[in-house]
């Protein structure tokens, strides 16, 4: 609440008005104060000189009467002072200091003893004056006058009132003038700030602040307009280039998607169409083996078996390619999945199929991921199959799946105790048709890890592998966890 009264919260107009009025008030007060002071001094001097003149006249008039000790005449002379209202007391002494005649106003004490040198000048509320009465340079008596300063006070009071009145009047005029004049300064600033606010609010860079004159404010306005002009131009250029980019991206995307569709169609049709003759080769190979076994010698039978095995492997390759193209194409359906259960299923399926070997599969329970269930199953099936396959020649199979949580990510590590691979060829690991082992060592299509990579990439994750020959391999899958 108090903050609203702080200086920096004041509007510019109020500040300008306040500054102007504060300065003028200070000036007026100073001028009035000094005028009152000077007037007080002047009036005192005037009063002093007036009283001196009065006392001088009195002295001149009373010299003879003093000499002839004519009290009656002295009283006459002194009585004339009654007409002067400021005189409070007047005393006339002879040379020996004896009081000859006196004039008192109501409630007055007696005349002071002149021989004791009574106070003179402005003492208390009175002005006191002592003047010798002289005749031909010969002192014949003394006059002592006391004047009260009510006239001075009244005069100064009137003066202060008049000065105050005039000051207030001037201030009122100044308020009016300042109110009119502050617009000269504040108006351009307000319009400039208004223009800036409108631009910030509406993002309309065609707005220009009005420019008045060629002073700093005018230059500020011009500079501001220039800046806005520059921003407008740059904005236009950015928008143009963005539009251009968008068009280019659109073009490229459409070209790309066209090429992609063609490629998919091509690969699907190739895979599909390749299967047809393959099935014929395999089918007729089997028919040949069954129907004409007795016509073939051992060498012929072996050739036939090899033909059939090759056609089966090619069928596997085509299946792999179809899967790869499917995981690339298929729309994703994200949901929360229990990865531990999924891995457990896969491991059970694998143990059913494979040769009996002491196998230890350790899967960390309660691992949860978010993603497309079918795709992730394909990926983790591939990974587990790999672990299974490459550890088949060990004494005992040990596979461990564990997960660690990072910020917004889950890291799933699949560790086996198989043959491993040479880290030099790690770059080729996730590229299709690249194999680090000969088909005679371990069977496979070389498409599995490429498919895994594609699935993980489509889930905005990544996959990496670490290994050493003969010491097993560790595949790390990093998947994002939606908040």
């Amino acid at each position: 609440m108090m903050g609203r009264w702080r200086w920096r919260y004041w509007p510019l107009k109020t500040k300008l008005l306040f500054l102007t009025l504060f300065t003028s008030t200070l000036g007026i007060v100073l001028v009035c104060t000094s005028l009152v002071f000077v007037e007080n001094q002047n009036y005192r001097q005037q009063l002093e000189s007036e009283l001196h003149v009065i006392a001088g006249i009195l002295a001149e008039q009373s010299a003879a009467a003093l000499l002839f000790k004519d009290n009656e005449q002295l009283t006459n002379i002194i009585s004339s002072l009654r007409k002067i209202e400021t005189i409070k007391q007047a005393c006339v002494f002879d040379t020996s200091g004896m009081l000859m005649s006196a004039l008192y106003s109501a409630g007055d004490t007696g005349c002071p003893d002149i021989s004791e040198q009574p106070p003179v000048g402005f003492v208390g509320d009175y002005y006191r004056l002592s003047l010798p009465v002289t005749l031909d340079d010969d002192t014949v008596g003394h006059i002592y006058l006391i004047s009260h300063l009510e006239a001075l006070k009244a005069h100064i009071q009137t003066f202060i009132f008049v000065a105050l009145g005039i000051g207030v009047l001037i201030q009122l005029i100044l308020v009016f003038v300042a109110f009119k004049l502050q617009r000269v300064v504040s108006q351009p600033i307000l319009e400039l700030s208004g223009a800036a606010e409108r631009i910030a609010l509406e993002h309309d860079y065609s707005i220009r602040a009005p420019v008045y004159g060629n002073d700093e404010l005018g230059r500020l306005g011009t500079t501001f307009n220039d800046m806005i002009g520059t921003i407008e131009q740059q904005n236009r250029r950015i928008l143009e280039s963005r539009d251009g980019l968008e068009r280019t991206v659109e073009d490229r995307t459409s070209q790309l998607s066209l090429a992609n569709k063609e490629l998919e169609a091509f690969s699907y049709s190739v895979s599909h169409d390749l299967r047809q003759p393959l099935r014929a080769i395999e089918g007729f190979g089997r028919a040949l083996e069954e129907d004409c076994a007795n016509l073939l010698n051992e060498s012929g039978k072996d050739h036939l078996r090899r033909i059939r095995a090759a056609s089966v492997r090619m069928g596997g390759l085509i299946d792999g390619l179809l899967v790869l193209s499917r995981v690339s194409r298929q729309p994703m359906e994200s949901q929360r999945l229990n990865l531990s259960e999924m891995l457990q299923d896969i491991a059970e399926e694998l143990s059913d199929l494979s040769k009996p070997l002491p196998t230890e599969v350790c899967i960390q329970p309660d691992m949860w991921v978010v993603g497309d269930g079918r795709m992730l199953r394909i990926a983790f099936q591939n990974l587990l199959e790999n672990a299974w396959k490459y550890s088949a020649k060990e004494q005992a199979r040990v596979i461990e799946v564990s997960a660690t949580s990072e910020a917004n990510y889950i890291m799933i590590a699949i560790q086996d105790n198989g043959v491993g691979f040479d880290m030099r060829y790690v770059d080729k690991l996730f590229v299709a048709f690249n194999r680090l082992h000969t088909p005679s060592e371990f069977g496979g299509t070389g498409i599995g890890l490429a498919t895994v990579n594609r699935v993980i990439l489509r889930h905005h994750g990544n996959i990496s592998a670490r290994s050493e020959v003969g010491k097993g391999a560790k595949f790390c899958v990093r998947l994002p966890v939606p908040a």
Partner: protein
Amino acid sequence: MAGGSFLLFSKFLVALVLCVSLTSAHASVRSEYEVKAAFFYNFTRFVSWTQPPEKESPLRVCVIGDNPFGDLLQPLAGRKSQGRELELTNPKDLSAAAGCHVLFVSESELRNLPVIITLAQEGHMLTISEIPDFIGRGGIIGYVKQGNIIRFEINLQAANAAGVNINSRLLELASRVIQ
């Protein structure tokens, strides 16, 4: 014996009372002639002459006839009045009074008064006297006694005729002025 001694005692008492009263009067109030002598000096301070004597020359103050002041005027000798020193003389007769600026006419000269007045007027003298109705007889300043207070009268006509200017302040104080 008793009556005689009483008379003696009463005489002594009267003398004592007189003596005491006189001395006490003398001590408290200034005597008539003391006041008159002071007035005399003060008169000279408020008077000027139409034909002013030379500035440096002394102001001659003469007492003609029997001097009633006794020694009381002596302190005036040498005092300055309007810048001029006072010089006291006691001329034996009228001819010796020529050259005086201020002339006090003693009551003893009552008989010669018209002559003195004429002479003084011609000699531009300020005449002062305690002769009753002095100003009515052509004198310029005359002492009068009102009760116990000494005052004075001024004949302005006579002053003008003698070429003597009386200060208006002095005129204000005069108990009577003949214009």
